[in-house]
Symmetry: C2
Subunit: 400 residues, 2 copies
C-alpha cells in the first residue's frame, strides 16, 4: 500500500469540482460535485438520528439499487427540519444535477451541511449546480474537499494505491467535520472513490465494517448530526479480479479502505471545533469489544478529561472517574494508564510519575492515552480532540 496524491480524483473515472454559489456568506466554496464517467457501484452509511435531513432520505432511496453516478453537495445549509419544501428541494438538487450531466436523477446522491431549519436558497443552489458541472475535472478533488467544509479550518483528503491480486487499485477520500462529532458518526460528510471492481453487496459490507472501526469511533462532542453521510463509489476501471466478501482480495481492499478512513478520521479529530490536539484513546485488555468501546467512549467524551488535556494537566483521576462511570467491567485496583508509553497509573493508583514529564507529553499535538483494564483481551482505539475556549466561541456564535 502506498499513499498517493489527488484524493478522490486520483481514482480513474472520477471527476470533481467545488465552486462558490453564495449559500455561505463570504466567498467560500459551497457547492461540490463528484461524478463517475459511467454508473458506479455505490454504497452508503447514514445518520441514525431520527430527525433525518431531507438529502439523507433522497440518498437512501437513490442508493437502493447499489448504483450511483454523481454526488451533489452544498455547505452552509443542512436542509434539515425543513418539511415537504425541504424534501422537494433535495429532490430538485438531484434533478438539476442530472440535467447538467445528462443522466437519470436516480443516479444522483445529495448531501447538505450547515445550519438546521432554514430552507435552501434554491436559485443560488441551481446556479451553483450549473457552475460546478462545468468546472468538473480529474484534478478537482481538492476543490470538492474545500466546498464541503463548514467550520473545518482546512480541507481533508487522502488517497492510496493497493494491489489486488497483482492489479493496482486506488482508493481516495475526502471528509468534513467538525462539531457534532459523535456516537455513530460526526456532523460528518465523507465521500470515497475507488476504481476497484466489486459488487454492490460486497462494497456495502466492506463500507459497514470500515465505518464501524473508523467514523463510528470518532467523537468530537457527543452530538450526532441529522445529516451524517459516508458514500463510496466504485468505478471498476482497475479491472481487478472481482472482489468477493471474505476472501483475501476482500481483506486487502478493506485494509486500503481502513487506511483511507482512519487518516480522514484523524484529520477530523485534529480539526474538531476548537481542537488544539488530536487525542487517541486506546483501551486494551478489556473483557470484550463492547466494554472496550464503553470505556474508551467515556474517556473520549468526558468534558473534564478533554479540558484537562487542553490544559496539559495529567489529571488521571478524571480518566479513572470516566472509566468508572462507563459500566465496563473491571477491577479499579488493577487498572493501568499510560501517556504514550509513560505510566501514570499502576493498579488504580498514582504510579509515582513525574509531573513535568507527563505535562511534556500532553503539550504535543498528538496525545495517546492507553488504558489497560486487565480484564480480557479485547481492544479498541477511539479518536477525539481536546476541549478549548474556541469550542465555546465557535458554537456560541455559529449562526451569527
Amino acid at each position: 500500500m502506498k499513499q498517493i496524491d489527488g484524493g478522490i480524483t486520483a481514482v480513474s473515472g472520477v471527476r470533481a469540482a467545488g465552486v462558490h454559489a453564495g449559500i455561505k456568506a463570504a466567498d467560500a466554496k459551497d457547492v461540490a460535485l463528484i461524478v463517475t464517467d459511467t454508473p458506479a457501484t455505490a454504497a452508503g452509511v447514514f445518520t441514525k438520528n431520527s430527525v433525518t435531513a431531507a438529502p439523507v432520505l433522497v440518498c437512501r432511496e437513490h442508493l437502493s439499487d447499489g448504483q450511483a453516478q454523481a454526488v451533489i453537495v452544498n455547505s452552509g445549509n443542512a436542509n434539515a427540519c425543513t418539511g415537504e419544501v425541504g424534501m422537494a428541494n433535495a429532490q430538485q438538487m438531484a434533478v438539476a444535477t442530472a440535467e447538467q450531466l445528462g443522466i437519470d436523477a436516480e443516479l444522483v446522491l445529495v448531501s447538505s451541511t450547515g445550519v438546521i431549519g432554514q430552507q435552501l436558497p434554491m436559485d443560488k443552489v441551481t446556479d451553483g449546480i450549473q457552475t460546478v458541472a462545468s468546472a468538473l475535472s480529474t484534478e478537482g478533488g481538492s476543490d470538492a474537499a474545500e466546498a464541503i467544509m463548514t467550520t473545518d479550518t482546512h480541507p481533508k483528503s487522502v488517497a492510496v494505491e493497493i494491489e489486488i491480486d497483482g492489479t493496482p487499485v486506488r482508493i481516495g477520500g475526502i471528509a468534513k467535520g467538525s462539531g457534532m462529532g459523535a456516537p455513530n458518526m460526526a456532523t460528518m460528510l465523507s465521500y470515497l472513490t475507488t476504481d476497484a471492481r466489486i459488487n454492490p453487496q460486497t462494497l456495502q459490507t466492506a463500507l459497514n465494517r470500515v465505518v464501524d472501526d473508523t467514523y463510528n469511533l470518532l467523537t468530537i462532542d457527543t452530538d450526532r448530526s441529522t445529516n451524517d453521510t459516508v458514500i463510496l463509489l466504485a468505478t471498476g476501471h482497475a479491472n481487478n479480479v472481482d472482489i468477493v466478501a471474505a476472501g483475501e482480495n476482500y481483506e486487502t481492499f478493506c485494509e486500503g479502505l481502513q487506511f483511507v478512513c482512519t487518516e480522514l478520521v484523524k484529520m477530523l479529530a485534529r480539526d474538531g471545533e476548537g481542537a488544539t490536539k488530536l487525542v487517541e484513546v486506546q483501551v486494551i485488555r478489556a473483557k470484550n469489544r463492547s466494554d472496550a468501546e464503553k470505556a474508551a467512549r467515556a474517556v473520549a467524551e468526558s468534558p473534564l478529561v478533554k479540558t484537562a488535556i487542553f490544559g496539559n494537566d495529567a489529571n488521571w483521576g478524571r480518566i479513572m472517574m470516566a472509566i468508572g462511570k462507563s459500566e465496563a467491567g473491571f477491577d479499579p485496583y488493577q487498572v493501568n494508564v499510560y501517556l504514550e508509553n509513560y505510566q501514570l497509573v499502576k493498579n488504580g493508583m498514582d504510579a509515582g510519575y513525574d509531573e513535568n514529564r507527563a505535562t511534556a507529553l500532553l503539550t504535543k499535538d498528538s496525545v495517546l492515552i492507553t488504558i489497560d483494564l486487565c480484564a480480557g483481551d479485547a481492544e479498541i482505539t477511539m479518536w477525539t480532540c481536546d476541549y478549548s475556549y474556541d469550542y465555546i466561541r465557535i458554537n456560541a456564535d455559529y449562526r451569527t
Copy 2:
C-alpha cells in the same frame, strides 16, 4: 409549606460547623461536621461509579443499620483511587470524629470531595476534626455549607417547615456541586436534616424517590463523580405521628423533601462550573417517562445546545438534533419547542418566531425550554446550565 432560614441547623436537634484545616490552599473552610444530639434515623444514596471513593464505602457500611449521629466532610481532596491507605484514612476520620463526640465510630458518616488520587494529609484532617467539633453550634449550618464547597462560587442552603397531621416539621439541606454533574447525581454532596419522626425504611424510600426526581435529573457536564453522596438524618424531635410509606403524611413529607432538594438542585445547576444561567429542560407529552428523560437528557447534555444558550442564540435546530439522537419515540414533524411560552418550533419546523424576542428570552438568567413531543402524556423536568469559556478555564487549570 413555608420556607425558613437556618438550613440544616433550622432543624431541632442538629448542630453543625465548618472550619479551615489547611487541606485546601488559601484560608477557605475545608472541614464540615454535622451532628445530631442523639442517634438519628438515617438514609443515603451514593454514586453508581464503579471507581468508588473510600468514604462512600465507609458510609455504606455505617448506614447499614439505618442510624447515624454525625457526618464529617472534608473538601480539597476526594480520597478516591487511594487504595488501602485511603480506606484506612476514611475509617480514621470516623474514629477521630467519634472520639471528639464521645460516640461510636459506626455512627459517623464520612465524605470527601476534591482532587482524585492523592492521599489525605491526615495530620491536618485530624486537627481539623478537633477544631470543627469544638465549633459546633445550632447556627453552624451556613459554615458547614461553605466548608463542603470545591469550585462552587457560593454556599447552598435551604429549609422549609411543613405540617404533618397538625405538627410542624422542618426539613433543611445543604449541597455542593459543581462540575461532574451528571447521570445519576453530580459531583455532588448533599446533607439533609429533618426533625420528622419516621422509620429507617420509610426514610430511605422517601429519599430514593426524591433523589430520582431531583439530583438524578441534574446534569452539568455528563461526568459522574466517584464520591457522590446524599445523606438524610431525621432526629424525630418534631414528635409528629409516625410517618409510614404510602400514606397522606408520607406524601406531605415527600413534598417538603422534594421542595428542599429541587431548590438545591436549581442552585447547583445555576452555579455549575462556568455557568452564566440556569437552564430548565421540560419535556411534555412524551410516550413514557423513560422517553421523556432520554429526550430531556439529550438536550440538557448537548454541548452544542449549551454553547448556543451561552451565546443567546435560539438555535432550535440543535434542540431537534439532540432529541433526534436521544432514541425517544416521536414524529419529528409533530414536535413543538418553546422558550418559556414563546413558540420557536411548530410541527418540527420554524414557527416563524421573532429572533430578537427569542434572544431576549435567552439573555435572562433562567432559561426554560419546553419540548412537546406530541407522543403521549409523560413529562419530566431536568436542570442544567450553559457552557461558557469559564467551564474550560476552570477545568483546564483545576489541579494547578
